[in-house]
């Protein structure tokens, strides 16, 4: 007994005291010694890690296979989620306030500028990484059976990522936003049948798809509110649900690999 004590010393007993306590054990349910059982439990008993399988084929660990791009896209999405929630404390989606709120974020509010910058640049980064994730999935042929439908879900994620970024573009209500969104939504005038300037138009400018999108014939207060609701609730929810399905299917089919 006394021999043991001398070998490990005070710090060891201190750590043992904590990790042996009933509080600790209620949170972490297994030991950390390097056994196969613990390495499995580390994944399965952790909510955040259990999207992973316990074990994977060796090639799946190679960074130069996936370039981590899907994971990075999701991580950037989480960064956008967190910074976006913080921005919501300061931003009001009304024409009278929107611009001033962004301006004061950039000038007055502590850490406001870095908050907004991270959200803005993160949005660009997410668009870039999702496009290159698609490129890697194409180049490795990972959409081949049985993963065809997960590619389709991926395309929907790509579109939603673009729309998420696009809807956020209007919110600062500056000239850049106004010009960009006007140009973008003008395209909706030209939709065949359903746009008032499109070929075979069957609707006038008060009933076409652009009117539905903007809540008016011009980019104005209603459009600002519509884009805001799309940007902070609807589109993020769609992305979360689609990403959940995307990940679930990867688990079921396993990551692709050489036959």
């Amino acid at each position: 007994m006394s021999e043991q004590k001398d070998r490990y010393g005070l710090s060891h007993r201190f750590i043992k005291g904590i990790t042996g306590s009933s509080i600790w054990k209620s949170v972490f349910r297994h030991g950390y010694a390097n056994t196969d059982k613990n390495r499995a439990l580390q994944i399965t008993s952790n909510f955040f890690l259990h999207v992973h399988p316990i074990r994977l084929k060796k090639h799946a660990f190679r960074i130069r296979f996936t370039w981590c791009l899907g994971g990075i896209t999701f991580f950037v999405f989480i960064v956008e989620f967190v910074t976006g929630i913080l921005l919501m404390f300061y931003y009001r989606p009304v024409v009278e306030f929107a611009y001033m709120d962004i301006k004061s974020l950039m000038i007055d509010i502590p850490f406001g500028a870095i908050l907004r910058n991270m959200h803005r640049w993160g949005a660009h980064l997410m668009v870039i990484t999702v496009i290159f994730h698609m490129l890697r999935v194409f180049l490795t042929g990972s959409y081949k059976p049985p993963r065809e439908f997960n590619w389709v879900i991926g395309v929907l994620l790509l579109i939603n990522t673009l729309l998420l970024s696009f809807s956020g573009y209007l919110l600062p209500w500056d000239q850049l936003a106004y010009g960009g969104i006007s140009i973008g939504t003008n395209m909706a005038r030209a939709v065949p049948f359903l746009g008032h300037e499109g070929p075979f138009a069957v609707v006038d400018k008060y009933h076409d798809v652009r009117f539905v999108l903007l809540g008016g014939t011009e980019v104005g207060p209603v459009a600002l509110l519509r884009f805001y609701v799309l940007h902070v609730i609807l589109l993020p929810m769609v992305v979360l649900i689609l990403a959940g399905v995307h990940f679930w299917r990867i688990r079921k089919d396993n990551i692709s690999g050489p036959l």
Binding site: I72, V76, V79, R147, W173, Y178, G184, M187, A190, G257
Partner: protein, 240 residues
């Protein structure tokens, strides 16, 4: 654990597998830290743009869409809005969604073996690169009123266009488009020897149509830049 047992049951050995903890989780952690560092440094160095407040009575010149849509905006130079803004993006999305159901040529998956998938790779990369080239032009080479400005040219110098555009006679247009799409289809079938048999008739025709539509974009751009052609086909209802 259950999953692993299933794999073994199917007759594959589990010995070529590795534990995810900690190796993969650690790499993911490193990637996340890398992303955070990148974003923080980027955000400290460069402020997100904030121009004067929006004023419906005054529009920017040029007003540019967000960069990822600039390829479509750039196409407005060469196509009417219903094509550049609706049909082209629609075909891109449809084409992307169809890829797994069209490319059934061989089952190679999970590794970079492009040499075995030459046709698929060439077509995809053609579209991918064209998308970014158009974005590049729209982002860096377009100035006021969407005129072409080299990066070293000042936007203060106002440009005027003295090109006179003309359009094909409608009959010539029908013949041209017919030759391009129908002739192109026959040509692809002849050149691409056995691929109709391998992929089936429907699949082959969809692939050929999507590919020809994609190639039509640079063709129209060339017609416009070299011969000042405005429309290939004029009708009372729409122009191409």
């Amino acid at each position: 654990m259950e999953n692993d047992n299933k794999v073994v049951e199917k007759g594959k050995s589990a010995t070529d597998k590795e534990f995810v903890w900690p190796d993969l989780v650690f790499k993911e952690l490193l990637a996340s830290v890398g992303v955070v560092v990148l974003l923080v440094v980027w955000s400290l160095l460069v402020d997100a743009p904030l121009r004067p407040e929006a004023d419906p009575a005054w529009t920017e010149n040029p007003a540019k869409a967000p960069w990822y849509f600039l390829g479509l905006q750039e196409m407005l130079v060469y196509f009417d809005p219903w094509l550049a803004g609706v049909v082209v993006p629609g075909l891109i999305v449809a084409g992307l969604i169809f890829i797994p159901y069209l490319d059934i040529n061989n089952p190679i998956s999970g590794e970079y073996r492009l040499g075995k998938r030459k046709m698929a790779t060439l077509l995809f990369l053609f579209g991918f690169i064209m998308w970014f080239v158009l974005i590049f032009v729209g982002a860096f080479l377009r100035g006021p009123s969407w005129y072409f400005y080299w990066p070293w040219e000042s936007w203060a110098v106002v440009k005027h266009s003295n090109e006179v555009l003309w359009s094909f006679h409608w009959l010539a247009g029908v013949v041209f488009l017919g030759l391009f799409f129908i002739g192109g289809t026959f040509l692809s079938i002849v050149i691409g020897k056995g691929f109709v048999q391998r992929l089936g008739r429907t699949r082959s025709l969809i692939i050929i149509f999507l590919a020809l539509s994609m190639f039509f974009i640079p063709v129209k751009i060339a017609l416009r830049l070299l011969f000042n052609v405005k429309y290939v086909l004029r009708t009372p209802f729409f122009n191409i």
